[in-house]
Symmetry: C2
Subunit: 180 residues, 2 copies
C-alpha cells in the first residue's frame, strides 16, 4: 500500500464513532460524526497556496484531499462540531512510504500543521505532528475496504506525557459514498 492507494481507499462518506479517553481523570467522551473525504485537483488553488505557505513545490504533492466532519459529543449535546481541512501528502524523494502531510488546520490546535507520515509494512498509516504546545501521533488502518480504525494520541509538547488517547471506528456509508 502506498500513499496514493491509502488516500484513494479513504474517499467517501464515513460514519464515525470516536471514544476519547482523557487519561489523567479517567474520563470517557463519546463522539458521533459523519466524515467526508474527497479528492482535490493537484492544481486546486487551495492546494497550491498551502504548498507555498510551507515553501514546498506544488509539483511534489500527491493525492491532495479535503476532509470535512460534522458531529456531536456527549460532553455537550447541544453543540454541533464541524469543520473541514485540506491535506496534502508530500512523499519523500528518497524514502519510499515516508513523507510530510501538510494541512491547513490540525486536530489538536486549529492552526496549520505539517506532520511526518509513514506507511508500515502492514499498511498502517502513521502520522506524527508537533504543535507549539502539544504533539499528536495517529495510526490509521483499514480492517476491510469499508472499515477504518484510527487511534490518536495527544501528548505534551515534549512527548513524555500522553494526555488523551482516542479511538475512532469509521464505517463507510454505502448509501452515499460520493461525499455529498
Amino acid at each position: 500500500m502506498d500513499i496514493t492507494q491509502f488516500v484513494e481507499q479513504s474517499f467517501g462518506r464515513w460514519r464515525s464513532q470516536r471514544s476519547a479517553h482523557h487519561l489523567a481523570f479517567a474520563h470517557f467522551e463519546a463522539v458521533e460524526s459523519t466524515i467526508d473525504i474527497v479528492a482535490l485537483a493537484a492544481n486546486d488553488p487551495k492546494v497550491i497556496e498551502l504548498c507555498k505557505s510551507y515553501d514546498v513545490d506544488p509539483q511534489t504533492a500527491t493525492s491532495p484531499f479535503q476532509m470535512s466532519w460534522q458531529g456531536h459529543s456527549d460532553w455537550d449535546d447541544d453543540q454541533v462540531m464541524s469543520g473541514s481541512c485540506i491535506l496534502v501528502p508530500i512523499p519523500d524523494r528518497d524514502r519510499p512510504n515516508h513523507g510530510k502531510l501538510l494541512r491547513d488546520q490540525g486536530y489538536a490546535e486549529t492552526v496549520p500543521a505539517a506532520g511526518n507520515y509513514h506507511l508500515t509494512d502492514d499498511g498502517t498509516f502513521v502520522l506524527k505532528t508537533a504543535y507549539d504546545r502539544a504533539a499528536a501521533e495517529e495510526k490509521i488502518w483499514f480492517v476491510n475496504p469499508n472499515l477504518r480504525c484510527r487511534v490518536s494520541l495527544i501528548k505534551t509538547s515534549n512527548g513524555t506525557g500522553v494526555v488523551t488517547a482516542s479511538f475512532s471506528s469509521e464505517i463507510r456509508s454505502l448509501s452515499n459514498s460520493s461525499g455529498n
Copy 2:
C-alpha cells in the same frame, strides 16, 4: 522487540479504560478495569496442562503469564466483571516473531483458544483467534513503558463482518506494579 520482551514489558498492574463500539447500532460502552499481568513458571502445572491439551510440547513455551481483571461497565453498573486466564506463547521454530498463543479462556467466548500472533517491525503485537462462532483480531502496542494501547475487533466467524471494535488505553499503576 521479541515476544519475551513484549511479555516482560506487560508485567504489572494496569488501569484500563476500554471503549467498545457496537457497530451495527452505533452504541458506545465504557469499561473501567484493573488488569494484573504476572509471570508464570515454565514448569507451572497449569502451563504444562494447557500445553498438553493442545498437544504442544511444554518445552517450546516461552514466557507464560497470567492475566486477571476486575472492572465494571456502564452497561450494568451493578455487575462486577472479573476473570483470569493463562496465556502461553509458543514461538514458531522457523519464523521469527511469529507463533501461537494458547490460553485457557478467550475474550469472545469463554472457552480455550489458540490464536496466531506476530510482532510487526514497529513492535505491535497482532493476535488473530478463530472461535466457533466468531473471530477476534487484536493489536497491542506500547506508546511508552507505562502506556499500552489495545484495539480488538470481534468479527463474524467467516471474517467478513466486524461486530464490535474496542479500544483500551492501559496505564501502568506505578503505586503498585507487583500485581498484588
